[in-house]
Protein backbone atom coordinates (compact mmCIF):
# COMPACT_ATOMS: atom_id res chain seq x y z
CA UNK A 1 0.00 0.00 0.00
CA UNK A 2 2.89 2.42 0.63
CA UNK A 3 4.54 1.70 -2.68
CA UNK A 4 1.43 2.54 -4.63
CA UNK A 5 1.21 6.27 -4.14
CA UNK A 6 4.57 7.38 -5.43
CA UNK A 7 3.79 8.06 -9.07
CA UNK A 8 0.91 10.41 -8.48
CA UNK A 9 3.25 13.36 -8.19
CA UNK A 10 0.89 15.02 -5.79
CA UNK A 11 2.68 16.36 -2.72
CA UNK A 12 0.51 14.70 -0.19
CA UNK A 13 1.03 16.05 3.29
CA UNK A 14 -2.74 16.23 3.59
CA UNK A 15 -2.35 19.68 2.05
CA UNK A 16 -3.04 20.83 -1.46
CA UNK A 17 -0.25 21.46 -3.92
CA UNK A 18 0.70 25.11 -4.23
CA UNK A 19 -1.32 27.55 -6.28
CA UNK A 20 1.49 27.79 -8.83
CA UNK A 21 1.55 24.02 -9.31
CA UNK A 22 -2.21 23.92 -9.65
CA UNK A 23 -2.17 26.69 -12.22
CA UNK A 24 0.44 24.76 -14.17
CA UNK A 25 -1.80 21.69 -14.06
CA UNK A 26 -4.78 23.70 -15.25
CA UNK A 27 -2.75 24.70 -18.32
CA UNK A 28 -1.31 21.25 -19.08
CA UNK A 29 -4.66 19.54 -18.41
CA UNK A 30 -6.39 21.95 -20.80
CA UNK A 31 -3.76 21.21 -23.43
CA UNK A 32 -4.16 17.45 -22.90
CA UNK A 33 -7.93 17.68 -23.31
CA UNK A 34 -7.51 19.94 -26.34
CA UNK A 35 -5.13 17.47 -27.91
CA UNK A 36 -7.53 14.62 -27.20
CA UNK A 37 -10.46 16.48 -28.77
CA UNK A 38 -8.47 17.36 -31.89
CA UNK A 39 -7.34 13.73 -32.22
CA UNK A 40 -10.95 12.56 -32.04
CA UNK A 41 -11.94 15.18 -34.57
CA UNK A 42 -9.33 14.00 -37.05
CA UNK A 43 -10.35 10.35 -36.62
CA UNK A 44 -14.01 10.83 -37.48
CA UNK A 45 -14.67 11.49 -41.17
CA UNK A 46 -18.13 12.88 -40.38
CA UNK A 47 -16.64 15.64 -38.22
CA UNK A 48 -14.22 16.64 -40.96
CA UNK A 49 -17.08 16.65 -43.40
CA UNK A 50 -19.14 18.98 -41.21
CA UNK A 51 -16.14 21.21 -40.63
CA UNK A 52 -15.04 21.47 -44.25
CA UNK A 53 -17.52 20.24 -46.81
CA UNK A 54 -20.75 21.63 -45.41
CA UNK A 55 -19.54 25.27 -45.27
CA UNK A 56 -18.05 24.96 -48.74
CA UNK A 57 -21.37 23.66 -50.04
CA UNK A 58 -23.11 26.65 -48.48
CA UNK A 59 -20.71 29.01 -50.28
CA UNK A 60 -21.32 27.36 -53.63
CA UNK A 61 -25.07 27.16 -53.05
CA UNK A 62 -25.49 30.80 -52.16
CA UNK A 63 -22.90 32.06 -54.63
CA UNK A 64 -24.29 30.24 -57.66
CA UNK A 65 -27.87 29.17 -56.86
CA UNK A 66 -29.54 31.79 -54.66
CA UNK A 67 -27.05 34.59 -55.20
CA UNK A 68 -28.33 35.67 -58.59
CA UNK A 69 -31.76 36.34 -57.13
CA UNK A 70 -30.51 38.44 -54.20
CA UNK A 71 -29.88 42.10 -55.10
CA UNK A 72 -27.22 43.82 -52.98
CA UNK A 73 -25.53 47.19 -53.06
CA UNK A 74 -22.02 45.96 -52.27
CA UNK A 75 -19.54 47.13 -54.87
CA UNK A 76 -18.15 43.61 -55.38
CA UNK A 77 -21.62 42.10 -55.87
CA UNK A 78 -23.25 39.29 -53.89
CA UNK A 79 -20.15 37.19 -53.33
CA UNK A 80 -18.54 40.00 -51.34
CA UNK A 81 -21.76 40.51 -49.38
CA UNK A 82 -22.08 36.77 -48.78
CA UNK A 83 -18.65 35.75 -47.52
CA UNK A 84 -18.60 37.61 -44.16
CA UNK A 85 -22.12 36.33 -43.53
CA UNK A 86 -21.33 32.74 -44.32
CA UNK A 87 -18.17 32.86 -42.23
CA UNK A 88 -20.18 34.07 -39.23
CA UNK A 89 -22.87 31.48 -39.82
CA UNK A 90 -20.34 28.66 -40.16
CA UNK A 91 -18.60 29.71 -36.94
CA UNK A 92 -21.94 29.49 -35.14
CA UNK A 93 -22.86 26.16 -36.74
CA UNK A 94 -19.49 24.69 -35.82
CA UNK A 95 -20.68 24.77 -32.21
CA UNK A 96 -23.18 22.00 -32.91
CA UNK A 97 -20.14 19.79 -32.48
CA UNK A 98 -19.42 21.29 -29.06
CA UNK A 99 -22.87 20.56 -27.72
CA UNK A 100 -23.05 17.07 -29.19
CA UNK A 101 -19.60 16.05 -27.98
CA UNK A 102 -20.26 17.22 -24.42
CA UNK A 103 -23.65 15.49 -24.35
CA UNK A 104 -22.01 12.26 -25.54
CA UNK A 105 -19.24 12.47 -22.96
CA UNK A 106 -21.79 13.08 -20.27
CA UNK A 107 -23.91 10.13 -21.29
CA UNK A 108 -21.01 7.73 -21.63
CA UNK A 109 -19.66 8.63 -18.20
CA UNK A 110 -16.46 10.18 -19.58
CA UNK A 111 -17.18 13.39 -17.69
CA UNK A 112 -17.83 11.44 -14.48
CA UNK A 113 -14.49 9.72 -14.88
CA UNK A 114 -12.68 13.01 -15.46
CA UNK A 115 -14.45 14.72 -12.57
CA UNK A 116 -13.42 11.90 -10.24
CA UNK A 117 -9.75 12.43 -11.15
CA UNK A 118 -7.30 14.85 -9.52
CA UNK A 119 -7.08 16.93 -12.68
CA UNK A 120 -7.96 20.61 -12.98
CA UNK A 121 -11.74 20.88 -13.00
CA UNK A 122 -11.70 23.74 -15.48
CA UNK A 123 -9.76 21.76 -18.07
CA UNK A 124 -12.56 19.70 -19.62
CA UNK A 125 -14.58 22.75 -20.56
CA UNK A 126 -11.55 24.89 -21.39
CA UNK A 127 -10.01 22.16 -23.54
CA UNK A 128 -13.32 21.72 -25.34
CA UNK A 129 -13.58 25.44 -26.07
CA UNK A 130 -9.95 25.71 -27.21
CA UNK A 131 -10.18 22.67 -29.51
CA UNK A 132 -13.49 23.75 -30.98
CA UNK A 133 -12.24 27.27 -31.54
CA UNK A 134 -9.24 25.83 -33.35
CA UNK A 135 -11.58 23.73 -35.46
CA UNK A 136 -13.65 26.82 -36.17
CA UNK A 137 -10.58 28.76 -37.27
CA UNK A 138 -9.72 26.02 -39.75
CA UNK A 139 -13.24 26.26 -41.17
CA UNK A 140 -12.96 30.04 -41.47
CA UNK A 141 -9.64 29.85 -43.29
CA UNK A 142 -10.96 27.21 -45.69
CA UNK A 143 -14.01 29.36 -46.35
CA UNK A 144 -11.85 32.37 -47.15
CA UNK A 145 -9.82 30.28 -49.59
CA UNK A 146 -12.98 28.97 -51.26
CA UNK A 147 -14.37 32.52 -51.28
CA UNK A 148 -11.31 33.71 -53.12
CA UNK A 149 -11.77 30.95 -55.69
CA UNK A 150 -15.33 32.08 -56.42
CA UNK A 151 -14.56 35.78 -56.66
CA UNK A 152 -14.55 37.20 -53.14
CA UNK A 153 -11.88 39.81 -52.34
CA UNK A 154 -10.97 41.64 -49.13
CA UNK A 155 -11.16 45.32 -50.04
CA UNK A 156 -10.02 46.94 -46.81
CA UNK A 157 -6.44 45.85 -46.26
CA UNK A 158 -4.98 42.82 -44.52
CA UNK A 159 -5.16 44.27 -41.02
CA UNK A 160 -8.92 44.69 -41.26
CA UNK A 161 -9.13 41.20 -42.78
CA UNK A 162 -7.31 39.75 -39.78
CA UNK A 163 -9.60 41.74 -37.48
CA UNK A 164 -12.58 40.18 -39.25
CA UNK A 165 -11.22 36.68 -38.69
CA UNK A 166 -10.57 37.50 -35.03
CA UNK A 167 -14.09 38.84 -34.58
CA UNK A 168 -15.59 35.79 -36.28
CA UNK A 169 -13.59 33.53 -33.96
CA UNK A 170 -14.55 35.41 -30.80
CA UNK A 171 -18.16 35.32 -31.97
CA UNK A 172 -17.87 31.56 -32.55
CA UNK A 173 -16.38 31.14 -29.09
CA UNK A 174 -19.29 33.02 -27.53
CA UNK A 175 -21.79 30.78 -29.34
CA UNK A 176 -19.63 27.84 -28.24
CA UNK A 177 -20.33 28.76 -24.60
CA UNK A 178 -24.08 28.67 -25.27
CA UNK A 179 -23.74 25.34 -27.05
CA UNK A 180 -21.57 23.92 -24.27
CA UNK A 181 -24.22 24.89 -21.77
CA UNK A 182 -27.02 23.31 -23.80
CA UNK A 183 -24.97 20.14 -24.31
CA UNK A 184 -24.28 19.74 -20.60
CA UNK A 185 -27.71 20.83 -19.43
CA UNK A 186 -29.66 18.63 -21.85
CA UNK A 187 -27.21 15.76 -21.86
CA UNK A 188 -28.78 13.76 -24.67
CA UNK A 189 -27.21 13.78 -28.09
CA UNK A 190 -30.37 13.74 -30.21
CA UNK A 191 -32.22 16.30 -28.12
CA UNK A 192 -29.19 18.55 -28.16
CA UNK A 193 -29.03 18.34 -31.93
CA UNK A 194 -32.72 19.10 -32.34
CA UNK A 195 -32.50 21.97 -29.89
CA UNK A 196 -29.48 23.35 -31.73
CA UNK A 197 -31.52 23.57 -34.93
CA UNK A 198 -34.26 25.45 -33.11
CA UNK A 199 -32.07 28.31 -31.95
CA UNK A 200 -29.10 28.33 -34.33
CA UNK A 201 -31.04 28.37 -37.59
CA UNK A 202 -33.27 31.37 -36.79
CA UNK A 203 -30.44 33.22 -35.11
CA UNK A 204 -28.15 32.99 -38.13
CA UNK A 205 -30.66 33.11 -41.00
CA UNK A 206 -32.85 35.87 -39.55
CA UNK A 207 -29.91 38.24 -39.72
CA UNK A 208 -27.97 40.20 -42.28
CA UNK A 209 -25.86 37.12 -43.08
CA UNK A 210 -27.41 36.12 -46.42
CA UNK A 211 -29.79 38.85 -47.54
CA UNK A 212 -30.10 42.59 -46.98
CA UNK A 213 -32.50 43.06 -44.08
CA UNK A 214 -34.69 45.66 -45.89
CA UNK A 215 -35.93 42.83 -48.15
CA UNK A 216 -37.63 41.16 -45.15
CA UNK A 217 -41.15 41.98 -43.91
CA UNK A 218 -41.30 44.70 -41.28
CA UNK A 219 -41.93 42.50 -38.26
CA UNK A 220 -38.96 40.35 -39.16
CA UNK A 221 -36.77 43.38 -39.71
CA UNK A 222 -37.48 44.42 -36.15
CA UNK A 223 -35.89 41.16 -34.94
CA UNK A 224 -33.14 40.93 -37.55
CA UNK A 225 -31.97 44.51 -37.04
CA UNK A 226 -31.58 44.14 -33.30
CA UNK A 227 -29.97 40.77 -32.78
CA UNK A 228 -26.30 40.06 -32.12
CA UNK A 229 -25.59 38.02 -35.27
CA UNK A 230 -26.55 41.01 -37.42
CA UNK A 231 -24.26 43.34 -35.46
CA UNK A 232 -21.37 40.92 -35.68
CA UNK A 233 -21.84 40.24 -39.38
CA UNK A 234 -22.28 43.92 -40.22
CA UNK A 235 -19.02 44.59 -38.40
CA UNK A 236 -17.29 41.74 -40.24
CA UNK A 237 -18.63 43.00 -43.55
CA UNK A 238 -17.41 46.53 -42.84
CA UNK A 239 -14.00 45.16 -41.88
CA UNK A 240 -13.78 43.04 -45.02
CA UNK A 241 -15.17 45.47 -47.55
CA UNK A 242 -14.76 48.92 -45.96
CA UNK A 243 -17.33 51.24 -44.46
CA UNK A 244 -18.20 52.49 -40.97
CA UNK A 245 -17.24 49.96 -38.30
CA UNK A 246 -17.58 51.66 -34.94
CA UNK A 247 -21.35 51.58 -34.26
CA UNK A 248 -21.80 47.89 -35.08
CA UNK A 249 -18.52 46.98 -33.43
CA UNK A 250 -19.37 48.25 -29.99
CA UNK A 251 -22.82 46.73 -30.12
CA UNK A 252 -21.18 43.42 -31.10
CA UNK A 253 -18.67 43.69 -28.28
CA UNK A 254 -21.43 44.45 -25.79
CA UNK A 255 -23.50 41.48 -26.95
CA UNK A 256 -20.56 39.11 -26.99
CA UNK A 257 -19.46 40.25 -23.54
CA UNK A 258 -23.02 39.69 -22.33
CA UNK A 259 -23.08 36.18 -23.80
CA UNK A 260 -19.78 35.28 -22.12
CA UNK A 261 -20.88 36.73 -18.79
CA UNK A 262 -24.13 34.76 -18.79
CA UNK A 263 -23.28 31.49 -20.49
CA UNK A 264 -19.73 30.76 -19.39
CA UNK A 265 -20.75 30.55 -15.70
CA UNK A 266 -23.86 28.57 -16.70
CA UNK A 267 -21.70 26.09 -18.61
CA UNK A 268 -19.26 25.80 -15.71
CA UNK A 269 -22.12 25.22 -13.30
CA UNK A 270 -23.67 22.61 -15.59
CA UNK A 271 -20.30 20.85 -15.73
CA UNK A 272 -19.92 20.87 -11.94
CA UNK A 273 -23.38 19.41 -11.51
CA UNK A 274 -23.10 17.13 -14.50
CA UNK A 275 -25.02 13.88 -14.34
Amino acid sequence: MTAVAETLGAPDAHGEPSLRVRFGWAVTDTLTITRRNLLVWMRVPAYLMFTVIQPVMFVLLFRYVFGGAIPVHSPGGYVDFLMPGIIGQSAAFATFGTAIALAQELKKGVIDRLRSMPMARSAVLAGRLVADTGRMLVTILILIAVGYAVGFRFANGWLAAVAMVVLATVFGLAICCISAYTGLAIGDEESVQAFGLIWLFPLTFLSSAFVPIPTMPGWLQAFANNQPVTYVINTMRALALGGPVAADLWKSVAWLAGIFIVFLPLAVRAYRRAG
Binding site: L8, L39, V40, G109, L114
Partner: protein
Protein backbone atom coordinates in the same frame (compact mmCIF):
# COMPACT_ATOMS: atom_id res chain seq x y z
CA UNK B 1 -21.64 -3.35 12.13
CA UNK B 2 -18.77 -5.50 13.30
CA UNK B 3 -15.65 -5.03 11.25
CA UNK B 4 -11.94 -5.29 11.80
CA UNK B 5 -10.71 -2.50 14.06
CA UNK B 6 -8.51 0.39 12.88
CA UNK B 7 -9.36 3.22 10.52
CA UNK B 8 -11.32 1.83 7.64
CA UNK B 9 -10.50 2.70 4.07
CA UNK B 10 -14.07 3.82 3.45
CA UNK B 11 -16.31 5.07 6.23
CA UNK B 12 -19.87 6.22 5.67
CA UNK B 13 -22.17 7.46 8.42
CA UNK B 14 -25.81 8.41 8.07
CA UNK B 15 -25.47 9.40 4.44
CA UNK B 16 -28.60 10.95 2.92
CA UNK B 17 -29.38 12.30 -0.51
CA UNK B 18 -32.65 13.28 -2.12
CA UNK B 19 -33.49 14.38 -5.63
CA UNK B 20 -36.66 16.38 -5.19
CA UNK B 21 -39.17 13.96 -3.70
CA UNK B 22 -37.05 10.93 -4.42
CA UNK B 23 -35.08 9.83 -1.36
CA UNK B 24 -32.20 8.02 -3.01
CA UNK B 25 -30.31 7.51 0.24
CA UNK B 26 -32.08 7.56 3.57
CA UNK B 27 -29.17 7.29 5.97
CA UNK B 28 -26.74 4.53 5.13
CA UNK B 29 -23.68 3.40 7.11
CA UNK B 30 -20.76 1.54 5.59
CA UNK B 31 -17.30 0.62 6.75
CA UNK B 32 -14.74 -1.02 4.49
CA UNK B 33 -11.38 -2.11 5.98
CA UNK B 34 -8.23 -1.63 3.90
CA UNK B 35 -7.63 -4.20 1.23
CA UNK B 36 -11.07 -5.77 1.42
CA UNK B 37 -14.00 -5.93 -0.95
CA UNK B 38 -17.41 -4.63 -0.04
CA UNK B 39 -20.20 -5.76 -2.29
CA UNK B 40 -23.12 -3.35 -2.39
CA UNK B 41 -26.08 -5.30 -3.54
CA UNK B 42 -29.47 -4.06 -4.54
CA UNK B 43 -31.94 -3.64 -7.35
CA UNK B 44 -31.95 -0.69 -9.72
CA UNK B 45 -32.98 2.47 -7.98
CA UNK B 46 -31.90 1.18 -4.58
CA UNK B 47 -29.37 3.99 -4.21
CA UNK B 48 -26.16 2.15 -5.10
CA UNK B 49 -25.04 4.51 -7.82
CA UNK B 50 -25.93 7.56 -5.74
CA UNK B 51 -23.70 6.24 -2.94
CA UNK B 52 -20.83 5.65 -5.36
CA UNK B 53 -21.25 9.12 -6.85
CA UNK B 54 -21.04 10.70 -3.42
CA UNK B 55 -18.00 8.64 -2.44
CA UNK B 56 -16.22 9.60 -5.67
CA UNK B 57 -16.93 13.34 -5.10
CA UNK B 58 -19.28 13.62 -8.07
CA UNK B 59 -22.27 14.45 -5.92
CA UNK B 60 -22.62 16.28 -2.61
CA UNK B 61 -24.55 14.49 0.10
CA UNK B 62 -27.48 16.20 1.82
CA UNK B 63 -26.53 14.84 5.22
CA UNK B 64 -24.20 12.45 6.98
CA UNK B 65 -20.53 11.99 6.29
CA UNK B 66 -18.31 9.96 4.02
CA UNK B 67 -14.58 9.52 4.47
CA UNK B 68 -12.25 7.81 1.99
CA UNK B 69 -8.66 7.08 3.04
CA UNK B 70 -9.11 9.55 5.86
CA UNK B 71 -10.33 12.37 3.62
CA UNK B 72 -13.81 13.81 3.81
CA UNK B 73 -15.46 13.59 0.40
CA UNK B 74 -16.84 17.12 0.66
CA UNK B 75 -14.12 19.06 2.51
CA UNK B 76 -11.10 17.22 1.10
CA UNK B 77 -12.53 16.30 -2.27
CA UNK B 78 -9.25 16.92 -4.10
CA UNK B 79 -7.37 14.57 -1.76
CA UNK B 80 -10.08 11.93 -2.18
CA UNK B 81 -9.70 12.17 -5.95
CA UNK B 82 -5.99 11.44 -5.61
CA UNK B 83 -6.78 8.23 -3.74
CA UNK B 84 -9.55 6.70 -5.84
CA UNK B 85 -10.34 5.13 -9.17
CA UNK B 86 -13.82 4.88 -10.66
CA UNK B 87 -15.28 2.66 -13.33
CA UNK B 88 -18.95 3.32 -13.94
CA UNK B 89 -21.75 1.39 -15.53
CA UNK B 90 -20.72 2.08 -19.11
CA UNK B 91 -17.29 2.16 -20.68
CA UNK B 92 -16.18 5.77 -20.19
CA UNK B 93 -13.62 5.69 -22.95
CA UNK B 94 -13.05 7.70 -26.08
CA UNK B 95 -14.11 5.22 -28.73
CA UNK B 96 -12.46 7.05 -31.62
CA UNK B 97 -9.06 6.77 -29.98
CA UNK B 98 -6.94 3.65 -29.57
CA UNK B 99 -6.66 1.80 -26.28
CA UNK B 100 -3.14 3.10 -25.87
CA UNK B 101 -4.14 6.71 -26.53
CA UNK B 102 -7.00 6.47 -24.07
CA UNK B 103 -4.70 5.33 -21.28
CA UNK B 104 -1.92 7.77 -22.15
CA UNK B 105 -4.32 10.70 -21.99
CA UNK B 106 -5.65 9.56 -18.63
CA UNK B 107 -2.03 9.21 -17.46
CA UNK B 108 -1.28 12.77 -18.55
CA UNK B 109 -4.36 13.97 -16.69
CA UNK B 110 -2.96 12.26 -13.58
CA UNK B 111 0.09 14.48 -14.20
CA UNK B 112 2.42 11.66 -15.11
CA UNK B 113 5.28 12.65 -17.40
CA UNK B 114 4.90 11.61 -21.05
CA UNK B 115 7.36 8.69 -20.75
CA UNK B 116 5.69 7.53 -17.53
CA UNK B 117 2.21 7.88 -19.05
CA UNK B 118 3.37 5.79 -21.99
CA UNK B 119 4.93 3.05 -19.90
CA UNK B 120 1.92 2.96 -17.55
CA UNK B 121 -0.35 2.52 -20.58
CA UNK B 122 1.78 -0.37 -21.81
CA UNK B 123 1.77 -2.02 -18.36
CA UNK B 124 -2.00 -1.82 -18.10
CA UNK B 125 -2.69 -2.96 -21.67
CA UNK B 126 -0.50 -5.93 -20.94
CA UNK B 127 -2.14 -6.66 -17.58
CA UNK B 128 -5.61 -6.56 -19.14
CA UNK B 129 -4.79 -8.62 -22.20
CA UNK B 130 -5.23 -5.71 -24.58
CA UNK B 131 -1.67 -5.49 -25.93
CA UNK B 132 -2.65 -6.88 -29.31
CA UNK B 133 -5.46 -4.37 -29.63
CA UNK B 134 -3.43 -1.46 -28.23
CA UNK B 135 -3.33 0.50 -31.47
CA UNK B 136 -6.85 -0.20 -32.67
CA UNK B 137 -9.64 2.30 -32.16
CA UNK B 138 -11.60 1.34 -29.06
CA UNK B 139 -14.85 1.42 -31.03
CA UNK B 140 -13.71 -1.79 -32.71
CA UNK B 141 -13.27 -3.52 -29.36
CA UNK B 142 -15.78 -6.08 -28.11
CA UNK B 143 -17.99 -5.10 -25.18
CA UNK B 144 -15.78 -7.05 -22.80
CA UNK B 145 -12.61 -5.43 -24.13
CA UNK B 146 -14.12 -1.97 -23.77
CA UNK B 147 -15.00 -2.65 -20.16
CA UNK B 148 -11.48 -3.95 -19.54
CA UNK B 149 -10.04 -0.81 -21.07
CA UNK B 150 -12.37 1.23 -18.89
CA UNK B 151 -11.23 -0.64 -15.80
CA UNK B 152 -7.61 -0.16 -16.86
CA UNK B 153 -8.27 3.58 -17.16
CA UNK B 154 -9.54 3.65 -13.59
CA UNK B 155 -6.24 2.15 -12.43
CA UNK B 156 -3.86 4.51 -14.22
CA UNK B 157 -3.42 6.60 -11.08
CA UNK B 158 -2.73 3.51 -8.95
CA UNK B 159 -5.65 4.18 -6.63
CA UNK B 160 -5.76 2.87 -3.09
CA UNK B 161 -9.52 2.60 -3.31
CA UNK B 162 -11.39 1.47 -6.35
CA UNK B 163 -15.10 1.98 -7.00
CA UNK B 164 -16.72 -0.29 -9.54
CA UNK B 165 -20.33 0.48 -10.30
CA UNK B 166 -21.88 -2.63 -11.80
CA UNK B 167 -18.67 -3.63 -13.57
CA UNK B 168 -20.17 -6.56 -15.46
CA UNK B 169 -23.64 -5.32 -16.33
CA UNK B 170 -24.37 -5.99 -19.99
CA UNK B 171 -21.46 -8.41 -20.43
CA UNK B 172 -21.82 -11.93 -21.73
CA UNK B 173 -21.08 -14.73 -19.23
CA UNK B 174 -17.58 -15.39 -20.54
CA UNK B 175 -16.57 -11.73 -20.31
CA UNK B 176 -18.03 -11.61 -16.82
CA UNK B 177 -15.82 -14.45 -15.69
CA UNK B 178 -12.81 -12.72 -17.23
CA UNK B 179 -13.71 -9.53 -15.40
CA UNK B 180 -14.03 -11.42 -12.13
CA UNK B 181 -10.51 -12.81 -12.54
CA UNK B 182 -9.15 -9.33 -13.12
CA UNK B 183 -10.99 -7.93 -10.13
CA UNK B 184 -9.67 -10.74 -7.91
CA UNK B 185 -6.11 -10.00 -8.96
CA UNK B 186 -6.55 -6.32 -8.11
CA UNK B 187 -7.75 -7.17 -4.66
CA UNK B 188 -4.81 -9.52 -4.22
CA UNK B 189 -2.59 -6.48 -4.77
CA UNK B 190 -4.12 -4.81 -1.72
CA UNK B 191 -6.57 -2.42 -3.32
CA UNK B 192 -9.70 -1.64 -1.32
CA UNK B 193 -12.72 -2.26 -3.50
CA UNK B 194 -16.30 -1.15 -3.32
CA UNK B 195 -18.33 -2.97 -5.88
CA UNK B 196 -21.99 -2.48 -6.64
CA UNK B 197 -23.95 -5.14 -8.39
CA UNK B 198 -27.42 -6.44 -9.02
CA UNK B 199 -26.01 -9.89 -9.52
CA UNK B 200 -26.04 -11.87 -6.35
CA UNK B 201 -23.61 -14.46 -7.61
CA UNK B 202 -21.16 -11.66 -8.36
CA UNK B 203 -21.23 -10.35 -4.80
CA UNK B 204 -20.95 -13.93 -3.57
CA UNK B 205 -17.87 -14.51 -5.77
CA UNK B 206 -15.97 -11.31 -5.12
CA UNK B 207 -16.93 -9.67 -1.87
CA UNK B 208 -15.62 -10.21 1.66
CA UNK B 209 -18.56 -8.38 3.10
CA UNK B 210 -21.90 -7.62 1.56
CA UNK B 211 -24.42 -4.92 2.32
CA UNK B 212 -27.86 -5.17 0.85
CA UNK B 213 -29.45 -1.83 -0.04
CA UNK B 214 -33.10 -1.36 -0.85
CA UNK B 215 -34.94 1.95 -1.20
CA UNK B 216 -31.98 3.92 0.12
CA UNK B 217 -31.45 1.92 3.29
CA UNK B 218 -29.03 -0.81 4.29
CA UNK B 219 -31.34 -3.70 5.06
CA UNK B 220 -28.70 -6.30 5.81
CA UNK B 221 -24.95 -6.64 6.17
CA UNK B 222 -22.54 -9.48 6.67
CA UNK B 223 -20.59 -12.13 4.83
CA UNK B 224 -22.28 -14.13 2.11
CA UNK B 225 -22.49 -17.09 4.49
CA UNK B 226 -24.03 -15.01 7.27
CA UNK B 227 -26.62 -13.64 4.90
CA UNK B 228 -27.44 -17.09 3.62
CA UNK B 229 -27.89 -18.22 7.20
CA UNK B 230 -30.71 -15.71 7.46
CA UNK B 231 -32.85 -17.68 5.08
CA UNK B 232 -32.65 -20.41 7.66
CA UNK B 233 -32.76 -23.51 5.58
CA UNK B 234 -32.39 -25.28 2.30
CA UNK B 235 -34.06 -24.68 -1.01
CA UNK B 236 -35.62 -27.12 -3.42
CA UNK B 237 -35.08 -25.93 -6.96
CA UNK B 238 -35.72 -27.29 -10.44
CA UNK B 239 -36.20 -26.17 -14.01
CA UNK B 240 -39.36 -26.64 -16.03
CA UNK B 241 -38.46 -27.02 -19.70
CA UNK B 242 -42.03 -26.40 -20.86
CA UNK B 243 -42.52 -22.79 -19.72
CA UNK B 244 -46.29 -23.04 -19.98
CA UNK B 245 -46.26 -25.55 -17.13
CA UNK B 246 -44.48 -23.30 -14.64
CA UNK B 247 -47.70 -22.34 -12.92
CA UNK B 248 -48.63 -26.00 -12.52
CA UNK B 249 -45.22 -26.81 -11.13
CA UNK B 250 -45.44 -24.01 -8.58
CA UNK B 251 -48.86 -25.22 -7.51
CA UNK B 252 -47.66 -28.79 -7.22
CA UNK B 253 -44.91 -27.94 -4.72
CA UNK B 254 -46.68 -25.10 -2.91
CA UNK B 255 -47.39 -27.22 0.16
CA UNK B 256 -43.93 -28.70 0.72
CA UNK B 257 -42.23 -25.48 1.77
CA UNK B 258 -42.42 -22.75 4.38
CA UNK B 259 -43.41 -19.92 2.11
CA UNK B 260 -44.61 -19.44 -1.41
CA UNK B 261 -42.71 -20.94 -4.31
CA UNK B 262 -40.94 -18.57 -6.68
CA UNK B 263 -41.09 -19.16 -10.40
CA UNK B 264 -39.24 -17.36 -13.18
CA UNK B 265 -41.24 -17.39 -16.37
CA UNK B 266 -38.18 -16.76 -18.54
CA UNK B 267 -35.63 -19.19 -17.20
CA UNK B 268 -38.18 -21.76 -16.08
CA UNK B 269 -36.55 -22.00 -12.67
CA UNK B 270 -38.86 -22.72 -9.76
CA UNK B 271 -37.66 -22.70 -6.14
CA UNK B 272 -39.08 -22.94 -2.66
CA UNK B 273 -37.56 -22.67 0.81
CA UNK B 274 -38.05 -25.89 2.77
CA UNK B 275 -36.43 -25.04 6.12
CA UNK B 276 -34.83 -28.04 7.79
CA UNK B 277 -37.01 -30.64 6.09
CA UNK B 278 -34.34 -31.21 3.46
CA UNK B 279 -34.62 -34.63 1.86
CA UNK B 280 -38.22 -35.21 3.01
CA UNK B 281 -39.21 -32.08 1.14
CA UNK B 282 -37.30 -33.25 -1.90
CA UNK B 283 -39.25 -36.50 -1.93
CA UNK B 284 -42.52 -34.59 -1.53
CA UNK B 285 -41.55 -32.37 -4.43
CA UNK B 286 -40.87 -35.34 -6.71
CA UNK B 287 -44.23 -36.88 -5.78
CA UNK B 288 -46.13 -33.64 -6.22
CA UNK B 289 -44.59 -32.91 -9.60
CA UNK B 290 -45.13 -36.45 -10.75
CA UNK B 291 -48.79 -36.33 -9.73
CA UNK B 292 -49.22 -33.06 -11.64
CA UNK B 293 -47.51 -34.55 -14.67
CA UNK B 294 -44.91 -31.75 -14.91
CA UNK B 295 -41.59 -32.66 -16.46
CA UNK B 296 -38.57 -31.14 -14.68
CA UNK B 297 -34.81 -30.88 -15.03
CA UNK B 298 -32.12 -30.53 -12.41
CA UNK B 299 -34.36 -31.10 -9.42
CA UNK B 300 -32.12 -30.59 -6.43
CA UNK B 301 -31.83 -29.60 -2.84
CA UNK B 302 -29.32 -26.77 -2.37
CA UNK B 303 -28.01 -24.30 0.18
CA UNK B 304 -29.72 -20.92 -0.17
CA UNK B 305 -28.20 -18.48 -2.66
CA UNK B 306 -28.12 -14.73 -2.26
CA UNK B 307 -31.16 -14.63 -4.50
CA UNK B 308 -33.07 -16.40 -1.78
CA UNK B 309 -31.58 -14.02 0.78
CA UNK B 310 -32.80 -11.05 -1.14
CA UNK B 311 -36.26 -12.50 -1.42
CA UNK B 312 -36.33 -13.28 2.26
CA UNK B 313 -35.15 -9.77 3.19
CA UNK B 314 -37.18 -7.64 0.87
CA UNK B 315 -40.07 -9.75 -0.24
CA UNK B 316 -39.12 -9.12 -3.84
CA UNK B 317 -36.40 -10.37 -6.13
CA UNK B 318 -33.13 -8.52 -6.57
CA UNK B 319 -33.58 -7.86 -10.23
CA UNK B 320 -37.30 -7.42 -10.25
CA UNK B 321 -37.06 -3.71 -10.92
CA UNK B 322 -34.66 -4.40 -13.73
CA UNK B 323 -34.43 -2.00 -16.65
CA UNK B 324 -35.56 -2.86 -20.17
CA UNK B 325 -34.59 -6.21 -21.62
CA UNK B 326 -31.22 -6.89 -23.12
CA UNK B 327 -29.52 -7.10 -19.77
CA UNK B 328 -28.15 -10.42 -18.71
CA UNK B 329 -31.19 -12.07 -17.31
CA UNK B 330 -34.43 -11.40 -15.58
CA UNK B 331 -34.95 -13.12 -12.34
CA UNK B 332 -37.64 -14.65 -10.39
CA UNK B 333 -40.94 -12.97 -10.45
CA UNK B 334 -43.44 -13.81 -7.82
CA UNK B 335 -45.92 -16.10 -9.31
CA UNK B 336 -46.65 -18.25 -6.31
CA UNK B 337 -50.38 -18.35 -5.65
CA UNK B 338 -51.66 -17.33 -9.01
CA UNK B 339 -51.04 -20.69 -10.60
CA UNK B 340 -53.68 -22.42 -8.53
CA UNK B 341 -57.14 -22.20 -10.13
CA UNK B 342 -57.37 -22.56 -13.88
CA UNK B 343 -53.92 -23.85 -14.51
CA UNK B 344 -54.43 -26.67 -12.04
CA UNK B 345 -57.55 -27.68 -13.90
CA UNK B 346 -55.65 -27.82 -17.15
CA UNK B 347 -53.16 -30.15 -15.49
CA UNK B 348 -55.89 -32.65 -14.80
CA UNK B 349 -57.16 -32.77 -18.36
Amino acid sequence: MSYVSGTPSILVEGLTKSFGDVHALRGIDLSVPHGTVLGVLGPNGAGKTTAVRILTTLLRPDGGRAVVEGYDVVRDAAAVRRSIGLAGQSAAIQEELTGRENLEIIGRLYHLSWPRARSRAIELLDQFGLSDAADRAAKNYSGGMQRRLDLAASLVGQPKVLFLDEPTSGLDPRSRLGMWDIIRSLVADGTTLLLTTQYLDEADELANEIVVIDHGLVIAAGTAEELKGRVGGDVVEFTVPDRSRIGDAATAIAKIGDGEPHADAETGVVSIGVGGRGSDALVDAVRGLDAAGVETHDLALRRPSLDDVFLALTGHAAEEEDEPSGRRRRSRKRRGGQGSGKEAERTAS
